[in-house]
Symmetry: none
Subunit: 226 residues, 2 copies
Amino acid sequence: MKKKDIKILLVDDEPDILEIVGYNLSNEGYQVITAENGSEGVKKAKKEIPHLIILDVMMPEMDGIEACEIIRKNPDLKNTIVAFLTARGEDYSQVAGFDAGADDYITKPIKPKVLVSKVKALLRRFKEEDVADTVKVGSLVINRDEYKITSKGKDIILPRKEFELLSLLASKPGKVFKRDEILDTVWGNEVVVGGRTIDVHIRKLREKLGDKSFKTVKGVGYKFVD
Amino acid sequence: MKKKDIKILLVDDEPDILEIVGYNLSNEGYQVITAENGSEGVKKAKKEIPHLIILDVMMPEMDGIEACEIIRKNPDLKNTIVAFLTARGEDYSQVAGFDAGADDYITKPIKPKVLVSKVKALLRRFKEEDVADTVKVGSLVINRDEYKITSKGKDIILPRKEFELLSLLASKPGKVFKRDEILDTVWGNEVVVGGRTIDVHIRKLREKLGDKSFKTVKGVGYKFVD
DNA sequence: GTTTTTTGGCATCACTTTTGCAATAATTTA
DNA sequence: TAAATTATTGCAAAAGTGATGCCAAAAAAC
């Protein structure tokens, strides 16, 4: 993968930090996206699917830990590396951060050279992961890179929302996902869509993968059965 | 679960690989067990019940595919994650591997960082899956996640209210729940439903789970007996 | 332009609650 | 104690409620 194809999402509420870090990374040739608080960060992460997210721990609206937890729940972002920005010596946040699914830490104050080399190191992993990233769940093979599902030897290309919905349901076969959960994960907490949206997508999936794979639990939600 | 409680079984015939991979994983704090061929791997897997098995595809004695198939047949190992070690571009083994029940792939040549992060990602899944929200009460298994009740080996899907009611009663077998209590818990204090509502639901449960399981205590309420 | 996503309106179905009455148990009274 | 009275629960069917399926069309994304 070329450098210019690598997206880095920067989330911090201090414009100064955003500027200095963003400048250094752009200079290195990376694509930099910024957000000023956790919820905006989560939103952009879902939209852009960056390769690396640098998250400030302390932010208004939604802090980094919380943002990271949400990000980690999104299957599309499972390959995304999350690094926290934290003041040196904040032991507490390190522990909480790793629990939330962080991959690494960058400590303030920020030294451009250190920052850049750390980012390079973190991203090195991507270059080698050009092998298709496939995960098997039950009878399905889910290929997140290609937005493609293999079911019983047949390849099925799914549009994004359908793919995400299936990914979620299939991530835990048998588990009933409540409509709220589904909306949170697939659509995002901020976005509000009408009540009929989910079942329309379920219908499409049923058309494509077979009716029996999706079970309705009235009053609760849907589940994928293997 | 703590890192040092996580067991990883490494199966490869090349001592070099065993060494480098083992070193890196131990360094991360995992418990590493090794085996040098498929049949030894299977043996150790059965004995140790590791959380993750990393299996080389090509080995003398018994190859990874075969070993995986055997492992997958063992119910004790049903929660174990199996990842294959494979040379890049070996498309054939990927397909065969998924068929054999593999969960993921790690490609050679091995880069320690990639390996470690992949292992972390795989095990992340484990943490979540372990907390399956199921409660065993006597002969019943109540699975809140799947909204499903297993009674004497039979799965029974219950409508929401019936499920909640049964959950409550079965939460303390033998205890008599007063009608008020039941209303409070299942229906909520605000909602007011007629007096006959509860026993209608009890009747449904009796139809589905057997008459003797529910005992009426006149003037007081109901109890679930095992 | 095409494809995907969302919406609103209905129809439908499943579940929930009510209703009326019968059956049963508890309590009172003769 | 037996009979009568009263309270409580069981039952079946009917009505009510709300959630879901489905369509076709509009809106948005590509």
